[in-house]
Symmetry: C2
Subunit: 421 residues, 2 copies
């Protein structure tokens, strides 16, 4: 009986892996130039880490299990909580900001559907220790630069939750109730019909009619002219220091060359722990699943036993950007050495030399000359080098370019020199 | 309350990750030059995949769990079975040999102890489709070359299970009983006292006194002169075609420049599915846990529903070699830009330019000049660039080498040119 891979997961074969590694490597190159250091955390964590952050409701989506010591564990559904846990355990004394990035797999027990998998990859950063617009702006600019580095044009939506939180605090001080409202607002960005549910919930919470109107106005407040949108927010909620900081973030974004974005006070991110700046980046070509990046500033560390440390971060859905990004892989010419049983050992020595520079295949099947040529053909080798007795005697080897069919004669030295460059 | 990482797992912080990535990248470079393509399989698989391969006994060491669809799953304890499963599902029509490599995490529920972790990393290859000495020799030579590429001198022990299997087939045809004998022989390499258990088990299986003596002689047969060891094996078991192939493998190893090894017919690998060549590589500096690589030729694919396809592969214990290998990381000079509130936006523009070439940090904390200099100091920046009003007006920037203390004055063009190289 044939065993299959688990439902909703994938095998990545060499051609696809090469593309993924090439994209990964471009992202790594950018994020390191911005001074972020990589962190690797365990693939599974204590279940409590994620229920503390997201509530018990998340368990339904998790790969949770009891280990053999009867401890509740789970495969990680995301990386922010593990990175914050590691920060609390091991990095509280590091100079601030602590700038970290990760590229790891995550797991969610979801109904398998197009473009969504149960094991998926996230590329993200966390800038820990600064509550300043400088940190917010860097994080947003980095997200846009990462996407651009792999040919993805992102549509940036930036909001600021402090405005909604300010209004909601007049409705209820209960964090969970605030969270429920935020989740409905998050859904509204995808489904405007949710507006009714928002009204109902706010009235249940005994919000005044005027306050409901204000909240609806803030949720609907969006525009390409960010400074004017911020001014309109001031008109609704009055002077808030967070709005001044938001303005400064926009000024800094323009210093990073980012001028084209939408300020959208309806971006709510659906999670309780975001406090100030929130942003989402959408890309074309992905249908309904167009969000490729989400992030914001948050306070999570105190939840896990650390101090009240402000952070800003984001996660990029790596699998999603793989569908639309530039997947070009740097091509290195490959060579197949064709030998006879009598010359096979010598072909291995030549292979060892050439492998300093390029990928080389030698015969592993004991095939005859014709079958070896066929192997070179079907595997798409760029060159074939004949290593026969005549060639070894004369020291003169014939190299065939498999695309052009051109054949040239080279000494071993000339051969090495050709591929060294 | 502070939440910790799960017992027996690790967080890798940036400095260590950089070292691990540097070693990984050297290994990748080598394996690609040998024409192997990377495969990525899911982190968890159906439990049956591993019990089919290793028996129900392995469950005690696994992180197995039921998913929400009540299917028995497990985090992978190793990669050979998943790669073979993926081969059966998706690669049977590929031209042979199919040469694959992987670098992935694995999971075992073991008592945490020095140098052994519950999540650990394996770097390995599988060459699928050839039963020839050419494939065995390439795989062994590749393992040695990989270790050498990161400065690990491996002591190679090569055996061939066909000799023991030939003798055991005269004792019993039962695969499980043969497996039990092999596991005791595997333990004998670490603990000679196991010899008594071997004798007892063989006598239980009704082996003749003469056969027991022959088996013990083969298990103890080892020597630096491989050809003479093979001849001695012939003296015990007679002519076997596998011994001729073993000789050929040694001839090919010498073409790869590998002359220093021990032929050891006692290498048993403790797993049922190895058929011919088996090898283990030990390294100094690791105490009792000195094995850094193990592999051999095997037939596993028919177990998973494919044909009777011969393969050769190995796994390198990445965490173990990290303890003894060359961990040098290519150093790229890093720059911290020091600015004032008035010049901060301009410093971001300069940072964007410099980030084409080198890692750059700008102030994210709203710090004053002195605190920014201190940050550069404590984080070990190589250079500090002052971006003040005077500098922006004159177009002349002062770059301080933090190691030598030397300070030079540069235009923006000169600055870019300096770091481009």
């Amino acid at each position: 009986m044939e065993i299959s891979k688990p439902r909703g997961t994938r095998d990545f074969l060499p051609e696809e892996v090469a593309q993924r590694r090439s994209v990964e490597s471009k992202l790594r190159d950018v994020v390191k130039k911005w001074g972020y250091g990589e962190i690797i955390t365990p693939t599974f964590e204590e279940l409590e880490l994620f229920t503390l952050k997201s509530g018990e409701g998340i368990i339904g989506e998790l790969y949770n299990f009891k280990d053999k010591g009867d401890r509740e564990m789970t495969l990680r559904p995301e990386l922010t909580a593990p990175v914050m846990r590691a920060y609390v355990n091991e990095m509280q004394s590091f100079p601030k900001p602590v700038k970290l990035f990760y590229f790891e797999n995550c797991f969610r027990y979801e109904r398998p559907q197009k473009g969504r998998f149960r094991e998926f990859w996230q590329f993200g950063v966390e800038s820990i220790g600064s509550a300043k617009p400088e940190s917010d702006a860097e994080v947003i600019a980095l997200a846009m630069t990462l996407l651009a580095s792999v040919g993805v044009k992102g549509n940036l939506n930036v909001g600021n939750l402090s405005v909604l939180r300010h209004l909601l605090s007049q409705v209820t001080a209960d964090v969970e109730s605030q969270g429920n409202v935020m989740r409905i607002i998050d859904k509204m960005t995808k489904d405007p019909a949710e507006e009714q549910n928002l009204e109902m919930l706010l009235l249940e919470l005994k919000a005044s009619f005027e306050l409901v109107q204000k909240i609806k106005a803030v949720v609907g407040l969006a525009g390409k002219d960010g400074f004017s949108a911020i001014q309109k927010a001031r008109d609704i909620v009055g002077q808030l220091p967070e709005l001044d900081a938001f303005e400064k973030t926009l000024v800094l974004l323009s210093a990073y060359g980012i001028h084209d974005y939408t300020v959208n006070f309806g971006v709510a991110r659906g999670l309780d722990y975001y406090t100030g700046i929130v942003f989402e980046i959408y890309a074309d070509g992905l249908g309904a699943q167009k969000q490729v990046c989400g992030g914001g500033s948050y306070k999570l560390i105190s939840l896990f036993g650390g101090g009240d440390v402000p952070s800003t971060g984001f996660g990029i859905g790596f699998d999603r950007i793989m569908e639309i990004c530039d997947k070009t892989v740097d091509q290195v010419p490959s060579i197949v050495l064709v030998s006879k049983p009598e010359t096979h050992a010598e072909s291995l020595k030549i292979a060892s030399g050439l492998r300093q520079y390029v990928p080389v295949q030698t015969d592993l099947m004991g095939r005859n000359f014709k079958a070896q040529m066929e192997f070179a053909n079907t595997t798409g080798a760029d060159y074939v080098l004949i290593v026969g007795e005549k060639e070894l005697e004369s020291g003169c080897f014939s190299l065939k370019n498999m695309e052009s069919g051109e054949q040239i004669s080279l000494s071993l030295d000339e051969l090495m020199k050709k591929f060294r460059n």
